[in-house]
């Protein structure tokens, strides 16, 4: 939507604005996310297939997983999504202080999410719920594990982006990088919204 005037500076120079009317970096990220959708389709699809496509026995997720904690964690991830989008809004306004503050909050939110997930894993494993504990264990750890891996990657790149922000790399309207990484961040949030519902609640 926004970055038209700032198209330069990214790889490709004068070509940055192309036929779809979308910045090259943003388009690239979207194409990448499309493939991520297919990756999670394989994992989530397998879960759906194994749980509802066959006659396998399936425990009530509530009886195994702690829903209140995870609901809180979901809320934390949503908050980090909001802080991300606020960081982006600040970058568009060239409000550098706001950008740094919101980015730090985002990193914090993401890191908290991963920590809570690690805590949850630890707890579940102590209870004896393992990847080898039937299909539910297998699908649960695979899906949430790969989501957690994505969040971790997101946190790491967000730390890198924050460092760059402190160095003033996004000043003067060069905010395309913030929007691009933001897309990834929101996508991870979106996947979690789906996962939380179909793995924990249903």
């Amino acid at each position: 939507m926004t970055a038209h005037a700032m198209a330069h500076g990214a790889a490709g120079g004068e070509h940055a604005q192309g036929a779809v009317g979308v910045h090259t970096q943003k388009l690239g990220m979207w194409v990448f996310l499309v493939s991520e959708v297919m990756f999670f389709t394989a994992l989530i699809g397998s879960y759906i297939i194994l749980r509802w496509g066959t006659n396998a026995e399936w425990p009530e997720p509530r009886t195994v997983l702690a829903i209140p904690v995870t609901a809180l964690n979901t809320f934390i991830l949503i908050c980090s999504s909001v802080s991300m989008v606020k960081a982006y809004a600040a970058a568009v306004r060239d409000d550098q202080a706001g950008l740094k503050r919101w980015l730090l909050l985002t990193v914090l939110g993401g890191a908290t999410f991963v920590s809570v997930q690690a805590f949850e894993y630890h707890h579940l494993i102590e209870k004896g719920f393992l990847p080898s504990s039937g299909l539910f264990g297998a699908t649960f750890y695979t899906m949430t594990g790969f989501h957690g891996f994505h969040v971790t990657c997101g946190v790491l790149s967000m730390i890198w982006v924050t460092i760059r922000a402190f160095r003033g790399k996004y000043a003067g309207g060069r905010f395309q990088g913030i929007e691009t990484i933001g897309l990834y961040w929101h996508f991870v949030d979106l996947v979690w919204i789906i996962l939380f519902t179909i793995v924990y609640l249903i």
Partner: protein, 581 residues
């Protein structure tokens, strides 16, 4: 690594990058394409060597292989291929050829090299990601190579690694080999993903002024559509393989029925990737062949628009036909019928393409250059591969020929007769641009003729074997009474295959000799219209001094009223003719 750079002829332009940046960790799409070229030709050789092992055992079961005595006792006791080694060879031949030879040859080499040059861009949209796409192939390939030598042996589950055979060492004794296979494929998926993101973004956003969608060369269209297929299909494979890896390592049971898992789910996920993969392996070949045929016939491509729509149709339908690999798998027979219909429908766009190639040659002025010869071979062999596919599409007939040598013949008519001939056409065609030197035409034609003959002698008889009921992937067909009379065919195939392999060395020799002391190539040796032929050979870093402007479609050959029989796309058409593009 591949020492691609060292063989490059000297650059004259000013370029202040260090040698390592220029030739090893280069972000230049042309260098990356050339790196892919040498890497995948190496794997083509590996895959070919493995095939020779397979053929020896099938032609002369139980006899010591020439040089087989050099192999360790565990692999080939007394020089004879053991059953385990045999299935390993079958598995790794397929794996190397599909993932590490043909796919990178088509996508890694030609998409990288051609897309920016042909659309008038200075480089890919994300040059650094592009570099990573190549450098991820290295660990992926190394892991796959390493899996040949690890404890427990290489994967023996076929290139389709059907679960549960691949799930557990209980069934085959293979553990590390299969795990490395999985890791390698996941890394391969990441590499392919980075490449595809680049190709798609580049084609959408970096086209030069005037290079509209329907002025794109068909090769670029094909590579673009291929990238779309890859981006949608490869992640599914990655997901499926990761679950397989977990089954092997951390005790999950995705595909193990004992704990409620579903072996058929592997087949579904694999073929959901696998069938688009088939088109990933053939669409770029179609695109390359289209470019070369228009050039060789000195005529515009017949029905350019329908060629584009046929490819789009193939890509779309390619996602709803995966079940035809599983007709006999115990899948719901009603669903199989649905897959039969979609499979049969997908033959139509393929037919359209063949007719359009014929239409392109009709009333042309066909120059029998080496690239053109290979492209013609591509068309004629693809016809056979396409027609033999119809037998499998019909579910009752498939019941008999499924899993027999008929399938092996079919896949090789499509992947060797189709893809590889087009790859050869592409290499002969663009080699002068890549290296600034012209491959020896005479040697090229000899190579073509020998390949064409021995290729057909190798693979055509496999149809007969299949109809006689010979199963694929069996170590020793002479175990069966009804197969024994056909053993002479196997011997014949084996001899032909050896000669086919030997013929390929001619090409290797041609490449090496040309690189060392080849004839210097002109800027536009084939008198082609594409943008890549308007820049020096090899093109400088950044490709174009000024961004070119495109005035018309890619195949303006023999335009009436024009001074020469081709009009480069960056020159306007003469005023009169009725051709609009």
């Amino acid at each position: 690594m591949t020492a691609a750079g060292t063989a490059l002829p000297g650059h004259t332009h000013v370029d202040d990058r260090s040698l390592i940046r220029k030739y090893v960790f280069s972000t230049d799409h042309k260098i990356i394409g050339i790196q892919f070229l040498f890497l995948s030709l190496f794997f083509l050789l590996v895959g070919g060597l493995l095939a020779m092992g397979i053929r020896w055992q099938l032609g002369f079961p139980g006899q010591a292989m020439p040089l087989g005595g050099w192999l360790p006792e565990g692999v080939a006791p007394g020089g004879v291929v053991s059953p385990k080694t045999y299935i390993g060879l079958v598995t790794m031949h397929g794996t190397f050829m599909i993932f590490f030879a043909v796919m990178p040859l088509l996508v890694g080499v030609f998409a990288n090299y051609l897309i920016p040059l042909k659309i008038g861009a200075p480089d890919m949209a994300f040059p650094r990601l592009n570099m990573w796409s190549f450098w991820l192939m290295i660990p992926s390939g190394l892991l796959m190579l390493a899996s040949l030598f690890v404890l427990g042996g290489m994967s023996v589950a076929g290139w389709t690694v059907y679960a549960p055979l691949s799930n557990s060492p209980d069934y085959t004794g293979v553990h590390l080999g299969q795990q490395l296979w999985c890791l390698s494929i996941v890394i391969f998926g990441a590499s392919s993903l980075l490449g595809s993101v680049n190709y798609i973004t580049t084609v959408i956003n970096l086209r030069a002024p005037g290079m509209t969608w329907f002025r794109l060369p068909l090769s670029v269209w094909a590579l673009f559509i291929t990238a779309v297929l890859a981006i949608l299909a490869v992640p599914v494979l990655a997901g499926a393989v990761i679950m397989l890896f977990f089954d092997q390592t951390i005790g999950t049971h995705f595909y193990l029925p004992a704990a409620g898992g579903q072996p058929l789910m592997w087949q579904h996920l694999f073929w959901f990737f696998g069938h688009p993969e088939v088109y990933i392996l053939i669409l770029p070949a179609m695109g390359i062949a289209s470019d070369v045929i228009a050039n060789g016939a000195r005529k515009p491509i017949f029905g350019y628009t329908s060629m584009v729509w046929a490819m789009i149709g193939i890509a779309f339908l390619g996602f709803i036909v995966w079940g035809h690999h599983m007709f006999q798998s115990g899948m719901n027979p009603t669903l199989a019928s649905a897959f039969m219909v979609s499979t049969i429908v997908i033959a139509v766009p393929s037919a359209i393409k063949v007719f359009n190639w014929l239409g392109t040659m009709w009333r042309g002025s066909i120059h029998f250059t080496t690239p053109m010869l290979n492209a013609i071979a591509f068309v004629s062999m693809f016809i056979i591969g396409g027609l033999s596919g119809i037998f499998m599409a019909s579910t009752p007939v498939d019941m008999y020929i499924h899993g027999t040598y008929f399938i092996v013949a079919h896949i090789h008519y499509v992947l060797f007769g189709g893809s590889l001939f087009a790859i050869y056409a592409g290499i002969y065609f663009w080699f002068p641009k890549m290296f600034g030197k012209q491959l020896d035409e005479r040697l090229g034609k000899v190579h073509f003729a020998l390949t064409f003959v021995f290729y057909n002698l190798t693979f055509f008889p496999m149809h007969i074997l299949g109809l006689g009921g010979e199963m694929r992937r069996i170590y020793d067909p002479t175990v069966y009474d009804y197969l024994r009379p056909m053993q002479p065919i196997n011997v014949f195939i084996t001899v032909s295959a050896f000669l086919l392999f030997a013929s390929q060395l001619l090409m290797a020799w041609n490449i090496v000799r040309t690189l060392v002391r080849g004839k210097k190539a002109e800027i536009n040796p084939w008198h082609d219209c594409g943008l890549e032929w308007t820049v020096p050979s090899p093109p400088p870093h950044g490709n174009f001094e000024t961004t070119p402007t495109v005035y018309h479609g890619p195949y303006e050959f023999s335009v009436p009223g024009a001074a020469q029989d081709y009009i480069p796309v960056n020159q306007p058409l003469p005023a009169v003719p009725e051709g609009r593009r």
